[in-house]
């Protein structure tokens, strides 16, 4: 719309508003006439952000604290760096492991991965990668094995503040063949040996100076002190401007040799309040809301009803597994029959349909149906209050006069259900669960806490009966941290494990240990099925559903492919384009 036409439309609006004031005697009449006029004016005068197809503005709800890829893990950082840094390997939208910075994915079959016998009698593996020949940092310096060695040095150093250093610990050494080819010597042979997704290369020619004092590296890294330095980035875009807490501006990386991005500038704007995020989307201040860090599903469904026709709405089920941890140290919950009664006493299908319009599928276990390890034979629990009641009776919890259940000692079957205070979706689900469990005679007391208290204190120290929250995993992620007995958080491990239920099963431990090292996909599938069956039978936690990410995109944008896993859609930013 041209400026002249818009000016004329606004003039018309002004005249109309004056007439409205003159003709209308009551406030209600004023509002009734004023609002449609305003809406029309909005349509006429809205800024034509979408007309500028060379730029894209993305709204997210979090701002990254640092842009160093290996320090302080954050979803927002992964999202923005997806455009500017290429990991060597990642899981794509089909949840397959793919090379981004390497030429060929190593495998035992293609000879690039070679199992070896280690001196300690265990199996290790040597894996050879070749960096893409055209890979170049944004200042024109080629990405080489010098960067690999430097990244390894940083990752191994105990004072470097690298977050998850497990991969670096597993790598016992690196042999460099030439500028582009290197071999990792890994001390453990696991089925996912080729996945070195956490090994994100750092530019040695820039970062080495900052690493002179490893203890100060987290402070001096150029990603913090000079984040717009083009040499820090090797992806299709580079960071041009960082305004902390507000936005990050990206422009094409002139030294990127892959398929070019279709936008001349991309702005990622942080707007933490989701109502404000919606308003910004409607105003055209932002073009899209990222699914990875955007609206919750209930907010997105409400938005879809009101404004869905004007946008592309993509609902992508992912790996965020909502569940209820049961503290197995509580006498009532230690009885498997009670746990089964609890899951039979809730109608998860109805919850999914009524609260989430069926967009969040009910989970049978922690393994998503899209995952290669998923087993359709996993026991499935449908709503069956009669059977739930029978199981509680059998466990010694009897309903006297149809009210709450008591055991022989006169104790009421009363449990505390906790979740993150302020999470509207979870609080809504809690209320439904409380009502449904009440029907089978179980008293539920809701006690919610702020996330930092729940995850900082209550869950790690296991001060709960039932805690509703989410586990985040990766494709074919072995559930060691959530189900292995060695991962029960306690003082000896600094309360670091995720097995907050306190689930101890030698069979599960054995299955997990075997699963990690099983290279044969068919045998691994069998092990995966056994793990899921044991989980669904023992029910150390109650599976609820897999959370869906909602991507709200402009109608003119094409090529955005949500992954549903922890690797953001921005890694494939060069596929994003405005529809001609």
């Amino acid at each position: 719309m041209t400026g002249a036409v818009r000016f004329q439309a606004l003039g018309t609006l002004c005249v109309r508003l004056i007439n409205v004031f003159r003709d209308t005697g009551t406030w209600w009449g004023w509002w009734r006439r004023w609002l449609p006029a305003l809406a029309v004016a909005g349509l006429l005068s809205a800024p034509a952000m979408g007309e500028d197809r060379e730029s894209l503005t993305i709204g997210i709800t979090q701002f990254p604290s640092t842009l160093n890829p290996n320090i302080d893990p954050m979803a927002a950082k992964s999202y923005v760096l997806g455009m500017a840094l290429r990991p060597i390997t990642v899981y794509d939208a089909d949840w397959r492991l793919v090379c981004l910075l390497c030429v060929t994915l190593p495998s035992i079959e293609n000879g690039l991965a070679v199992p070896v016998d280690r001196a300690d009698g265990k199996k290790g593996i040597d894996i050879t990668y070749t960096i893409r020949p055209e890979a170049t940092w944004g200042d024109g310096v080629p990405v080489t094995t010098a960067d690999v060695l430097f990244t390894y040095e940083v990752g191994r150093h105990p004072e470097s503040a690298v977050g998850n250093a497990e991969l670096y610990r597993r790598i016992t050494g690196i042999d460099v063949k030439d500028d582009k080819t290197f071999t990792l010597h890994v001390d453990k042979l696991t089925f996912d040996y080729a996945a070195i997704n956490d090994f994100v290369l750092l530019p040695a020619h820039i970062e080495r100076a900052a690493f002179a004092d490893p203890a100060q590296y987290r402070v001096r890294t150029r990603y913090n002190t000079d984040p717009t330095n083009p040499g820090l980035y090797n992806g299709p875009y580079r960071v041009m401007e960082v305004v902390a807490g507000s936005h990050i501006l990206f422009a094409p990386n002139p030294h990127w040799a892959g398929p070019p991005g279709h936008f001349k500038r991309i702005t990622v704007r942080a707007i933490e309040n989701t109502a404000a995020l919606e308003a910004n989307l409607l105003s055209g201040t932002i073009d899209m809301v990222a699914g990875e860090l955007g609206l919750s599903l209930d907010e997105a469904l409400a938005f879809d009803k009101r404004h869905g026709e004007g946008f592309q709405m993509i609902f992508k089920p992912g790996l965020v597994f909502e569940h209820i941890d049961l503290n197995l140290e509580r006498p009532a919950l230690a009885d498997r029959r009670v746990r089964e009664a609890l899951i039979l006493g809730i109608d998860r299908e109805a919850i999914s349909n009524s609260l989430f319009a069926g967009r969040q599928k009910v989970a049978d276990s922690f393994v998503n149906p899209l995952d290669a390890g998923y087993s359709a034979k996993t026991p499935r629990y449908h709503y069956d209050p009669a059977r739930a009641a029978a199981l509680l009776d059998a466990a010694g919890w009897r309903a006297l006069g149809g009210g709450l259940r008591r055991n022989a000692q006169g104790d009421t079957l009363s449990l505390e259900l906790m979740t993150t205070a302020g999470n509207r979706t979870r609080e809504l689900v809690e209320e439904v669960l409380q009502s449904q469990w009440r029907k089978i005679g179980v008293d539920i007391r809701i006690k919610n806490e702020p996330a930092r208290v729940l995850f900082g204190e209550t869950v790690p120290h296991r001060h709960f009966d039932m805690a509703m929250y989410a586990w985040i995993s990766a494709p074919e992620d072995v559930p060691r941290s959530i189900l292995h007995s060695s991962e029960i958080p306690d003082a000896s491990n600094g309360f670091a494990g995720q097995n907050a239920s306190g689930f101890k099963s030698p069979e599960m431990d054995h299955l997990i240990d075997a699963l990690e090292i099983e290279l044969d996909p068919a045998k691994r599938k069998t092990l995966w099925a056994a793990v899921q069956k044991l989980y669904a039978t023992e029910l150390p936690s109650l599976p609820l559903y897999f959370r869906s990410d909602t991507f709200i995109l402009p109608k003119w944008l094409r090529g955005v492919r949500p992954t549903g896993n922890q690797y953001p859609s921005t890694l494939w930013i060069t596929d994003w384009a405005a529809q001609p």
């Binding site: 606004l10 305003l38 809406a39 004016a41 909005g42 005068s45 809205a46 800024p47 604290s65 640092t66 160093n68 302080d72 893990p73 954050m74 979803a75 105990p158 004072e159 503040a161 977050g163 998850n164 250093a165 497990e166 610990r169 203890a215 987290r218 402070v219 913090n224 401007e241 305004v243 902390a244 807490g245 507000s246 936005h247 500038r265 702005t267 704007r269 942080a270 707007i271 933490e272 309040n273 109502a275 404000a276 308003a279 910004n280 409607l282 105003s283 201040t285 930092r452 208290v453 995850f455 900082g456 204190e457 209550t458 790690p460 985040i472 995993s473 941290s481 600094g494 670091a496 995720q498």
Partner: protein
């Protein structure tokens, strides 16, 4: 007066030292630490990683030892490093402080100007329709939730009419003054509308009382013009209680406006303090809260000194 000021400055210094300890301990006693937050973001982080990172970030030390270490650094002018902003505390603080001073200062001046005008006008005709209308608007302004007001302004002026940007401090890649000012309009309007009502009520009450005093009657009897009576005599008396309120509000200039900043994605001090506390960024939270404390106390000292100028009967001992 010099002695009074010196004593008050010593008191302020003592309170700041005490507050630094109290704030540090209170933040430190909150459940969780920065490494717990990192572990939430990456659940695969092992116990060994957690222990290593706690040592790297120094959170494995007892709280008191950490405070002493911080205090030692602070005395040498180093307020430490902000984990959330990945920058020295001052570098993280200064841009936000500038943003907040611009936002809060603009709305403070506007609200004060409006309140002085409206409050004085209402006090001159107490009980009139004009007074009732001003009162109604004041109560509406005071009662209106800031987040709702902000959202309405965004929906009308950004989403509806498209006249103003809905959020941020500037268009990405642009840094001209006009662009900054355009981004300021809606947040400043929100804060001004939200705070004018309260200030107007104070001014009206103080002015109404001042206009009943003997010296005003005397001034009128001596033939002083109405504008001179109001501006020179009544307003000066009325400013004494108003100054107290303004001094107390002054801390807000540096502690920011959390709700407004959040709604407009405006990077100011309110959001910074909230994020620093929630994100266990001890150094940053401590520096920001202390800055707000010092500003409030200095503003109160300034108000005490202003009383002497406004009312010659006030003496300092």
């Amino acid at each position: 007066m010099i002695r009074f000021t010196a004593i008050r400055l010593v008191e302020i210094a003592a309170v700041v030292v005490l507050m630094s300890f109290v704030i540090y301990v209170l933040i430190g006693l909150m459940p969780g630490d920065p490494i717990d937050l990192m572990r939430q973001a990456d659940p695969r982080m092992s116990a060994a990683d957690v222990a290593r990172l706690k040592a790297v970030y120094g959170v494995d030390q007892p709280l008191f030892a950490r405070y002493l270490a911080w205090a030692g650094q602070a005395l040498s002018g180093d307020l430490g490093y902000s984990r959330l902003f990945a920058a020295p505390v001052w570098s993280a603080l200064v841009p936000r402080l500038g943003n907040s001073l611009l936002l809060m200062g603009s709305s403070f001046v506007l609200a004060l100007a409006l309140a002085l005008g409206l409050g004085t006008a209402a006090a001159r005709r107490p009980g009139s329709r004009f007074d009732a209308a001003i009162n109604l608007c004041c109560f509406a302004g005071v009662s209106m939730p800031t987040f709702w007001l902000a959202l309405m302004l965004i929906l009308v002026f950004a989403a509806g009419l498209g006249w103003l940007p809905a959020s941020g401090i500037a268009t990405a890649g642009m840094s001209n003054l006009g662009d900054r000012l355009v981004h300021l309009v809606l947040p400043v309007a929100t804060l001004t509308l939200a705070s004018t009502g309260g200030y107007t009520r104070y001014v009206r009450a103080a002015m109404k009382e001042a206009l009943l005093q003997d010296h005003i009657r005397t001034a009128r009897a001596k033939g002083a013009s109405e504008s001179r009576v109001i501006l020179h005599h009544a307003l000066r008396s009325a400013m004494i209680p108003v100054t107290t309120i303004l001094a107390l509000s002054f801390g807000g200039l540096v502690s920011g406006a959390l709700v407004t900043e959040t709604m407009f994605a405006y990077p100011g001090m309110g959001k910074l303090i909230f994020d620093a506390v929630m994100g266990n960024d001890y150094n940053l939270a401590l520096a920001a809260l202390l800055l707000a404390t010092v500003t409030t106390m200095l503003a109160n000292l300034a108000a005490d000194l202003a009383y002497g100028w406004l009312d010659p009967r006030v003496t300092y001992r």
